[in-house]
Amino acid sequence: MPRNFFTLMRSSAPVGTAAPASNGALLEPPPSMKRDAADGVGVHLDPNLEAVRHEFTEEVETALQLRNVSAFYGSFQAIDKMTMPIPRNRVTALIGPSGCGKSTLLRCFNRMNDLIPGARIEGEIEFEGRNLIDPNVDAVEVRRRIGMVFQKPNPFPKSIYENVAFGARINGYSGDMDRLVEDALRRAALWDEVKDELDKSGLALSGGQQQRLCIARAIAVQPEIILMDEPASALDPVATLKIEDLMRELAEEYTIVVVTHNMQQAGRVSDYTAFLLAGEERVGRLVEFGPTQDIFTNPLDQRTEDYITGRYG
């Protein structure tokens, strides 16, 4: 059993709000965005949304707060009015069958959808007091704060060192680059394997190593949140386990949101799980959100239970 389950069980206070404890100033929403303090967590915000939310069993800060987030590709609506928090320093898994909008939702978090012509997001994603999908918010800045690891490892055709240093260089990092690179590679659990061949091309590594290189590359920019879009789906089981261990470790410092098709993986690595489902009109909706343990052992929605027990998907 993953250790996060113990953490969850030990926590006593069932508070489900964006707790302003340590980072209050950053998390305090501007007046225009203030809502009911409990929005999105532990209660049904809007009965029409039908999403079930479990109460949190621990006190946790909110890294991102989604409110009625919808996404469109041209006239096609991919996701509809999703409201949920992303807890800070936790691993949150987005699960659901293909085409339910998991990846689309993930790509809203760092404005990657901006790169797709005709893509459009509505609603609010609150990040440190700002709505990050506001067109006035600089998408480049958002992506520097919210990193991303992709389904297929995509290292640049450059050396291992340059791959990791890339993000820091474009951000004008002026500190000790060697240390930054080493630190990022250590955190990505890749240092010991590559420390003697940093000049080698990143493409010469194995798939699992490449993916860890991509994680190191994301870490080197020192983001607050790391988004992972099925990061292990192209890897073998051993490499997959390494990535999963790494996600657990990284959650101590970063907020992690991971899209996964693999139910066992969601169960192993995540603290919180959001179950998404698309109806017949192919519009993705949030069905259920809560601590992973509750979602997996005690789903409140029949559809969640059906998916988790493998009846469709």
Partner: protein
């Protein structure tokens, strides 16, 4: 672009694209009589073009050897004086290489920045609709008869140069010819570089964007380096096109085969000299006629060498993305 160059471009492109599609060979099974006939016809046509190429090379070699029987090697490659049509004949080919090289380099200086900027724009910035219009127009530029470019140089570029550098600059000068050659080869660099840049996987761009890169950083630091081999190949091909360019430089370059002259003076390229020598009344047995082949051979070896370098570069620096 002319036939053989287009073929080189095609084969290079095929290399760059790494087409793995091996055409299946239906001919290995049973064939109908009509099928056999068509098979044979196609084989003959393929053979014909191969024969033409081999024939050209053989004629070049044969006539060049004839030339060097009469004129020592050293007088050709060891001299910078050219006066093939005067009573006292000198055949220092470097006078012609100078003109060719200067015009080609001026051309590259114009075409590389313009071509690469156009390629970056088309590949990374332009909306698909704009690209769908602009790229074909750019490629049409490569189909404009080169004689038109020659007159464009004389009528539009040279006057501007004279306005800038003074009226004592001749209307025939290397700068004017070089600029117009540059304009002619912009489509080669722009089109081939753009193809190479678009072949860079989207996942690399996304990876760079996800690290907080601006579009400019993605274009210049990720896409351009990843497409480096294709870009260099396009530049070398453009260079060999500039070296082989004939009509525009014959018209605009003047007829002054002199080693060491500056860009504001008239020069003569190898190609322009070949035109001059082969016009009209040069007897086919004369030495002036034979030197034509020696010059052509030099040109041939030069452009062939450039094409080999282009091939080598595109192999050597090819980035494997997966």
């Amino acid at each position: 672009m002319d036939g053989p160059e287009r073929d080189t471009v095609r084969s290079l492109l095929a290399e760059l694209w790494r087409e793995r599609l091996q055409p299946s060979r239906p001919g290995s099974g049973r064939e109908t009589p009509t099928g056999k006939l068509i098979h044979g016809l196609l084989f003959l046509t393929a053979l014909l073009s191969a024969f033409v190429t081999v024939g050209i090379v053989l004629v070049l070699i044969f006539e060049t050897v004839e030339f060097f029987r009469e004129v020592p090697f050293i007088d050709f490659f060891g001299s910078t004086k050219w006066s093939a049509l005067f009573a006292e004949k000198q055949f220092g080919v470097w006078a012609l290489v100078w003109g060719t090289g200067m015009i080609a380099l001026i051309g590259l200086a114009v075409a590389i920045p313009l071509g690469l900027m156009a390629a970056v724009f088309l590949s990374e910035y332009s909306p698909p609709r704009v690209r769908a219009v602009v790229k074909p127009i750019l490629e049409v530029l490569a189909g404009v008869p080169t004689v038109v470019f020659g007159y464009f140089a004389l009528l539009s570029i040279s006057p501007v140069i004279r306005d800038i550098f003074g009226q004592d600059v001749g209307i025939y000068n290397a700068l004017s010819a070089g600029i117009v050659v540059g304009l002619m080869i912009v489509p080669i660099i722009a089109s081939l570089s753009e193809d190479a840049m678009r072949a860079v996987p989207r996942s690399l761009r996304e990876g760079a964007y996800a690290l907080g890169s601006t579009r400019m950083e993605v274009s210049l630091r990720v896409v351009l380096p990843a497409a480096f081999s294709g870009v260099v190949a396009s530049i070398i091909l453009a260079f060999s096109r500039a070296v082989g360019e004939t009509m525009a430089v014959t018209i605009a370059g003047g007829g002054n085969p002199q080693f060491g002259v500056g860009p504001l003076e008239a020069v003569q390229t190898m190609t322009a000299m070949i035109v001059q020598l082969s016009l009209g009344d040069t007897p086919t047995t004369s030495i002036e006629f034979k030197v034509l082949f020696a010059v052509a051979m030099t040109l041939f070896v030069l452009t062939l060498g450039m094409n080999f370098i282009a091939q080598w570069v595109s192999h050597r620096f090819r980035e494997e993305y997966e």
